[in-house]
C-alpha cells in the first residue's frame, strides 16, 4: 500500500481520503495484533526475569541475614517480633499457624482429591439399623473442585505473605544498620489511614472481587475441562472428572454430516456481532440526532422532552421490556390495532419469523437505548467550542457540513472508548433479548442442549445451557471462554487503533 504524506493526503479527493482511512484501519489490524503478541512476549520475559530476581534476592537475604532473619524463613514474623515490631510479627505468625492448621485438617484432603475430582460416588448400601437400603454419599466433585481451587489460592497467598515477610526482614536489618528506629505498631496503625490508606480502602472491595468474581471465574474456566452436567452433578448421581480438551473438541468438530456444533456456534456468533453492531450504532447516531434536535436553539421546553424520553431508563427494564414484548405478540396490542383498522389480514409475525424477530429486537432496542445516548450526547455537544461553528459558518459551511466536519468527528473522538465498551456490552446484552423474545423463534440448528432460538445471543445460549434438565455446564463454560476470547480480541484490537486512547494523567 502506498503511504501518503500529509500534503499528498490533503490533495486527495474526499472519497479517496475515506478509502485511505479505511485501508489504513485494516492494514493496521495485523500490525496491532503483532504488537499485541510482542507485548505479551515482552511481558512474559519481564515476568520470568522478575521471578529470577526474586529468587536471587531471597537467597542473598538468607545468606547475608542475621539469625533472626534466618529463623523468619521458617517461623514467619519471628524477625519482626525479635526486633520489637510485635503487631506485624504476630499477624505474620497467626497467618502461618492458620495456614498450617487448615492444611492439616482440610486443605490436604481437597488438594489430594483435586487431580481425580473424587473417587467414590454415591452408593446404595444396606443399613442394618433401619433394615433398608439407603444411598450413602461420599465424595463431592463440586466441593472438591471448589475447595481445591480455594486451597490453591490460599497457598499462593501464603507464598506471597512469606515473601513479604522476608523482604521486611531485609529492610528492617538495613534500617537498624543505618541507625534509624523501626516503626512501632502504633505507627503502622496510623499509616493505615494515612500513607498506606489505599490498603485500607482496597481491602474490602478486593476481597469481595477475589471471592465472588475471580474465584467463580477460575472455577468456571476449570469446569470447561470437566464433564460436569446434569447427569454428572458430582454428588447425588455421578461424580464428574477431568476430560481435558474434549469439550472444546466436541463444540468445534462435532457433526453428523449435515449439521455441526461449529456451524451453530458460527451462526450464533454472527448474529451476536450483527446485533451488537446495529444495537450500538443505531442508538449512537439516532441518540445523537435526538440530542441535537432537543438542544437546537429555539426549541421550547427542552427539559420536558428529555424527561419524557428518560422514562425508559427510569422504569425497570423487566416491566417495560416484558410489556413491549407482549405488545408485539401475535395477539398483542399492535397486531390487534392493525387488524381492527383493517390494515392487515392476519397478525404480523413479530416474534414468530426469524427475520421479523431480529429486526424487531433491534428496533425495540433503539427505543431502550436512545435516551442514554441522548443524555450522553447532550453533555458532550455542549462542550464543543462554539467558535468552531462560528468560523465554519464564516467559511460558508452549511448545517450538514458542520455536522460531518465538526460535530461527528468531535463526538467520535471523545466517545471512542465508550463506543467500544457499548459494543462489547451489547454482545452480552442478556436482558433485552431474554425479556423480549426469550430467544424465539426456535432454531433448527443443533445445540448441545436447551432449545436454541434464532434471536439467541451467545450469552443467552450460554444461559439456556445451564437451566434445562440435563444442564450442560461444561458447554456453557466452553462458550463463556469463547465469548471472552472474542470480546478480548475485539477490545484489544480496537482499543489500540482508537485515536482517543488517552493518558489518564491528562485529566488531573
Amino acid at each position: 500500500m502506498k503511504k501518503y504524506s500529509d500534503l499528498e493526503y490533503l490533495r486527495l479527493p474526499k472519497w479517496k481520503r475515506f478509502l485511505y482511512a479505511v485501508i489504513c484501519f485494516f492494514v493496521g489490524i495485523p500490525g496491532s495484533i503483532l504488537g499485541l503478541f510482542k507485548k505479551i512476549g515482552l511481558g512474559i520475559v519481564k515476568f520470568l526475569t522478575g521471578i529470577k530476581n526474586e529468587f536471587v534476592d531471597i537467597g542473598t537475604t538468607f545468606t547475608n541475614g542475621d539469625w533472626k532473619t534466618k529463623v523468619s524463613f521458617f517461623i514467619m514474623g519471628f524477625g519482626n517480633i525479635a526486633r520489637g515490631q510485635i503487631l506485624r510479627g504476630l499477624l505474620f505468625f497467626i497467618f502461618e499457624v492458620v495456614f498450617i492448621v487448615y492444611m492439616i485438617f482440610a486443605g490436604s484432603y481437597w488438594l489430594s482429591m483435586l487431580p481425580s475430582l473424587g473417587l467414590r460416588g454415591p452408593e446404595v448400601v444396606y443399613d442394618p439399623i433401619y433394615d433398608a437400603y439407603v444411598t450413602e454419599y461420599f465424595d463431592n466433585s463440586f466441593k472438591i473442585l471448589l475447595y481445591g481451587v480455594l486451597t490453591l489460592f490460599f497457598i499462593i497467598a501464603l507464598i506471597y505473605t512469606w515473601r513479604i515477610n522476608i523482604k521486611q526482614n531485609k529492610i528492617s536489618e538495613q534500617i537498624i544498620r543505618s541507625g534509624k528506629k523501626l516503626r512501632s505498631g502504633k505507627d503502622d496503625l496510623r499509616s493505615l489511614v494515612d500513607d498506606q490508606f489505599h490498603k485500607t480502602l482496597l481491602a474490602l472491595p478486593l476481597t469481595g472481587i477475589i471471592v465472588f468474581t475471580m474465584m467463580p471465574i477460575v472455577f468456571m474456566i476449570l469446569v470447561a475441562f470437566t464433564n460436569y452436567d446434569g447427569a454428572h452433578n458430582g454428588f447425588s448421581n455421578n461424580l464428574f472428572t477431568w476430560v481435558g480438551l474434549d469439550n472444546f473438541n466436541s463444540l468445534l468438530s462435532w457433526s453428523n454430516g449435515e449439521v455441526s456444533y461449529a456451524a451453530t456456534f458460527g451462526e450464533v456468533l454472527t448474529w451476536t456481532l450483527i446485533w451488537a453492531f446495529f444495537a450500538t450504532f443505531t442508538n449512537y447516531f439516532l441518540g445523537m440526532l435526538v440530542a441535537m434536535m432537543i438542544n437546537k436553539k429555539g426549541i421550547r421546553i427542552k427539559k420536558f422532552w428529555r424527561t419524557c424520553l428518560v422514562f425508559t431508563i427510569a422504569v425497570p427494564q423487566f416491566i417495560s421490556l416484558l410489556y413491549v414484548s407482549k405488545m408485539f405478540a401475535n395477539n398483542g396490542l399492535i397486531n390487534g390495532f392493525l387488524l381492527n383498522l383493517g390494515l392487515i389480514e392476519k397478525a404480523l409475525p413479530f416474534w414468530t419469523d426469524t427475520t421479523w424477530a431480529r429486526i424487531t429486537v433491534i428496533i425495540i432496542n433503539i427505543w431502550i437505548g436512545i435516551p442514554y445516548l441522548m443524555l450522553i450526547a447532550t453533555g458532550i455537544l455542549m462542550n464543543i467550542p462554539k467558535d468552531l461553528y462560528e468560523s465554519a459558518k464564516v467559511d460558508g459551511a452549511g448545517p450538514f457540513m458542520q455536522y460531518t466536519k465538526i460535530t461527528l468527528p468531535y463526538m467520535l473522538f471523545v466517545t471512542g472508548p465508550y463506543l467500544l465498551t457499548s459494543f462489547t456490552s451489547n454482545m452480552n446484552n442478556f436482558n433485552v433479548i431474554y425479556l423480549l423474545t426469550g430467544g424465539a423463534p426456535t432454531s433448527t440448528l443443533p445445540s448441545p442442549g436447551g432449545n436454541l432460538g434464532d434471536t439467541d445471543l451467545l450469552i443467552t445460549w450460554l444461559f439456556k445451557l445451564t437451566t434445562f434438565e440435563e444442564a450442560k455446564y461444561y458447554m456453557a463454560s466452553v462458550i463463556g471462554i469463547l465469548v471472552f476470547i472474542v470480546v478480548a480480541i475485539i477490545s484489544l484490537v480496537v482499543y489500540n487503533l482508537l485515536p482517543s486512547t488517552k493518558n489518564e494523567e491528562d485529566f488531573q
Binding site: F142, D194, D195, H198, L202, L204, L206, I209, F212, T213, P216, I217, F219, M220, M292, M293, G298, I299, W305, C308, L309, V310, I313, A314, V315, P316, F318, I319, S320, L322, Y323, G332, N335, G336, F337, N340, W367, Y372, T378, G379, I380, K386, Y389, K393, A397, G398, T415, Y418, T421, Y434, L458, I459, L462, T466, S477, G480, V483, F484, F507, Q508
Partner: protein, 298 residues
C-alpha cells in the same frame, strides 16, 4: 437544521436566495417540534398502555384494545391476595441495603484508584478489565451453589442476593473514578501541606465535592435490584417467599398464568415503576452528570 446563530457577518451564498434565515429557522423549528411530539408519543405509549390496562376490570386477558370498558381498582386490590407485597418488600430491602453498602465499596475503590499511585495499581486495573470481559452469567452457577451451602437461598434469598451484589460491586468503579480524576490534585496537595492525613482529605475535601457522583452511585445501585431477575431467579429457586418483584412478575407472564394475571401484571408494574421512576426523575441531574462523565472518560 442546526443553524445556531442568525447574526452572521456575511451570508454564505447558498443561503441567500428564497427566504431569510429567520423564516427558514422558524420552519425547521416547527418541523423539529412536530418530530419531537411524535417521538415523545412513541416513547410514552407503552407506559400509558400499562397504566390504562391496569385499571381494566372487564377481563384479565391480553386484548387488542387499550382503553378499558370498565374502570376500577380491582387489579390493584387483587395484588394483595398474592405474594406480591412480600416480593415488593424483599426488593425494597435489597435495594436499600445494596444502595448504601455498594456506594461505600465503589467509592473506596474509585477514590483509591484515582488518587493513589501505588505499586501494582496499573496491573490491578488491567486485571479487573480482563475479569470484566468474562460473561458474568457463568459465575452464577457456582455462586448459587455456594450460597446454598451457607443457607442463603430459596426463602432466605434476600441476604444472599445482597451479599453477591455488594461483593462484586467493586468492579464497577469506572464512572466514579472518572469523576474523581476531574477533581484537581492540587486540592489534595494543599490539604496535605496543611497537615491533613489521607483519611481527612477524603472526608473533608473530596467527599463534599463528590456529591453528584455519590448520588449517581446510590441511584444506580438502588435501581439495579429492581430489574435483576436472572440471578434472583437462580437464588430463589421457585420459592415464592424468596423472590423479588422481577422474578415473581416474570412468572406471571408464562403461558399458563398470563390469561388470569395480565392486568394484574400491569398494576404491579405501575406500583413497581412509580417509586423508582419518580426517584430517578427527581435525581435526573446527577444521573446525567454520571453517564456523561463516564462516557467521556471511559
Amino acid at each position: 437544521m442546526k443553524r445556531k446563530n442568525n447574526q452572521l457577518p456575511e451570508l454564505p451564498p447558498q443561503a441567500k436566495h428564497h427566504m431569510g434565515i429567520k423564516a427558514r429557522n422558524a420552519i425547521s423549528n416547527t418541523f423539529i417540534h412536530i418530530l419531537l411530539v411524535i417521538i415523545t408519543i412513541i416513547w410514552l405509549v407503552p407506559f400509558v398502555c400499562i397504566i390504562l390496562q391496569s385499571f381494566r376490570v372487564e377481563s384479565t386477558h391480553m386484548v387488542g384494545y387499550v382503553i378499558p370498558k370498565d374502570w376500577g381498582l380491582d387489579n390493584y386490590i387483587a395484588l394483595f391476595d398474592t405474594d406480591f407485597p412480600k416480593w415488593y418488600i424483599n426488593t425494597l430491602v435489597t435495594a436499600i441495603i445494596t444502595a448504601l453498602l455498594q456506594t461505600v465499596i465503589v467509592l473506596c475503590m474509585s477514590y483509591t484508584l484515582s488518587r493513589f499511585r501505588f505499586k501494582g495499581r496499573k496491573l490491578l486495573m488491567r486485571f479487573m478489565l480482563i475479569l470484566g470481559m468474562f460473561p458474568g452469567m457463568l459465575t452464577m452457577i457456582i455462586l448459587y451453589r455456594v450460597l446454598k451451602d451457607i443457607g442463603m437461598t430459596e426463602a432466605n434469598a434476600v441476604p444472599g442476593l445482597i451479599l453477591v451484589y455488594i461483593a462484586s460491586s467493586g468492579m464497577g468503579y469506572y464512572v466514579s473514578k472518572g469523576f474523581f480524576d476531574t477533581i484537581p490534585k492540587s486540592l489534595d496537595e494543599a490539604a496535605r501541606i496543611d497537615g491533613a492525613t489521607r483519611f481527612q482529605i477524603l472526608t473533608k475535601v473530596i467527599l463534599p465535592l463528590a456529591k453528584p457522583i455519590v448520588i449517581y452511585t446510590i441511584l444506580t445501585a438502588f435501581m439495579a435490584p429492581w430489574g435483576d431477575f436472572v440471578f434472583a431467579r437462580y437464588v430463589s429457586m421457585n420459592v415464592s417467599s424468596g423472590m423479588n418483584v422481577a422474578v415473581g412478575l416474570f412468572s406471571w407472564l408464562n403461558k399458563d398464568m398470563i390469561d388470569g394475571r395480565y392486568t394484574m401484571f400491569c398494576a404491579a408494574g405501575v406500583l413497581v415503576a412509580l417509586p423508582v421512576a419518580l426517584l430517578f426523575i427527581f435525581l435526573q441531574k446527577y444521573y446525567v452528570e454520571g453517564v456523561t462523565g463516564g462516557a467521556v472518560k471511559g
